[in-house]
Symmetry: C2
């Protein structure tokens, strides 16, 4: 089955019926996918403030009303509790279960946060002829823990995690200009060049994801990464938090190209 040409609505329907439980990468060509985080209202204020204070790490696509599973802006006829192929439930920071549907766990005080994802700007980079090495090499994007503190908010704090894509300086300039116009999916890079300046010891040994080839004459370009809010939440150890399983994202009705400001 080729899901790349199907509409987000059709694919979400198959996910809801339990017919798709795999990663969503490559599905619904051109449409933005989002990271999920669900928290009880009690922790939601601090997290909303954390996203406001760290917009490059936590670019919000949509925040649900308290207790509501319905999306109003990013998708029609969607249910955040059933339309993601795989969810992870964390209690006090510990993974306690994986589910393909969380309807039975939903609570009246739950608030969902849909967070922009680098898939969206990568599709725009490729359109602008900027190479995306980990896609070329069929690997996961390399990610690094930096020494850059997030701005804390209530119970949430932590270091910034970045993703890296190597390219020539000429392409790096193009990449800044393309992604600067996309603040809802991490925006412009946070750093260019020497990893050591932001606390990265060995560029060939990412903390998460895979290492990629850096060709002669290329420089690493670093963007804020969606792992940052996830790790801030996990280390705050709230009584309950629910996220998507890695790579199992929510597919929106909004095209990547429309996430430009």
């Amino acid at each position: 089955m080729d899901y790349s040409k199907m509409s987000p609505h059709e694919v979400r329907q198959l996910i809801r019926e339990g017919k798709i439980t795999t990663q969503t990468s490559g599905m619904c060509d051109g449409y933005a996918q989002g990271n999920l985080l669900i928290l009880p209202k009690e922790q939601a204020y601090d997290f909303l403030l954390f996203t406001q204070r760290n917009p490059k790490s936590c670019p919000i696509l949509e925040v649900g009303d308290v207790g509501s599973r319905e999306l109003k802006y990013m998708a029609k006829d969607a249910d955040i509790a059933t339309d993601i192929p795989k969810y992870r439930v964390y209690e006090y920071g510990k993974l306690t279960g994986e589910y393909t549907d969380i309807s039975h766990l939903w609570r009246d005080d739950f608030v969902f946060f849909l967070i922009g994802c680098s898939f969206s700007f990568e599709s725009e980079l490729l359109s602008a002829d900027v190479p995306v090495r980990h896609i070329e090499e069929g690997r996961n994007v390399p990610m690094y823990l930096t020494n850059i503190d997030c701005v804390p908010a209530g119970i949430f704090h932590g270091k910034t995690v970045v993703s890296m894509r190597p390219m020539t300086p000429e392409k790096a300039i193009k990449a800044v200009s393309v992604t600067a116009s996309m603040p809802r999916v991490h925006g412009a890079p946070i750093h260019i060049g020497e990893g050591a300046k932001i606390g990265i010891k060995d560029i060939n040994k990412p903390d998460f994801g895979d290492s990629v080839t850096i060709h002669e004459g290329e420089i690493p370009v670093f963007w804020c990464c969606g792992v940052t809010p996830q790790s801030a939440v996990m280390s705050a150890k709230p009584p309950i938090a629910i996220s998507h399983a890695p790579g199992h994202m929510f597919i929106t009705d909004v095209k990547n190209s429309l996430l430009k400001d």
Copy 2:
């Protein structure tokens, strides 16, 4: 006394000592000024979500920690309860008092929101040779209630209020490009041209502020305006809300030119 060349720190000190109780327009050349809104924590979540959903109307410069009067990012050694020349207190949506200091009213559950203001982009427009008519004519900016609904959040909802500056189409293009890079002070215009399209009946009769001259060959350019969050809060009638008195703003340590993305 010429306050235009003084530093924000010096002027805030004079305000704190009660030696300045006037409007802050023209003080501390080049530094950003912000609108204030203080709400109890109970209403702050809804308001924070309202600002997230309506970023062009409610561009946030800083949100305080619960109970804290201290600014961490926009100013050093500042006290939000003393460093504004005039405050207004509203109870259940009704103005109940004006104060030059609100220390005695401060509560442990208060959260302050400092909101970006069009003063900042006007200074950048002038630097780019874009005319700002109400400044030329020594009037208040004309503001209009539109038929554009804000995206509601909890108890907060309402129509969008816009400010208008007339200019030639050539200058309007320049103005879009200058302000698009300043999302923390309302960003790009929300509309250009015919006021009727956004529910404005008579461009010569603004709902707030003063009317300004529109020369032959000029078109009106409309930006979201800081009156929107104020009126959304007033109509939600929270038990208590505190704002700056019109024109009596908080002067930050951050230059307007640094509010660019």
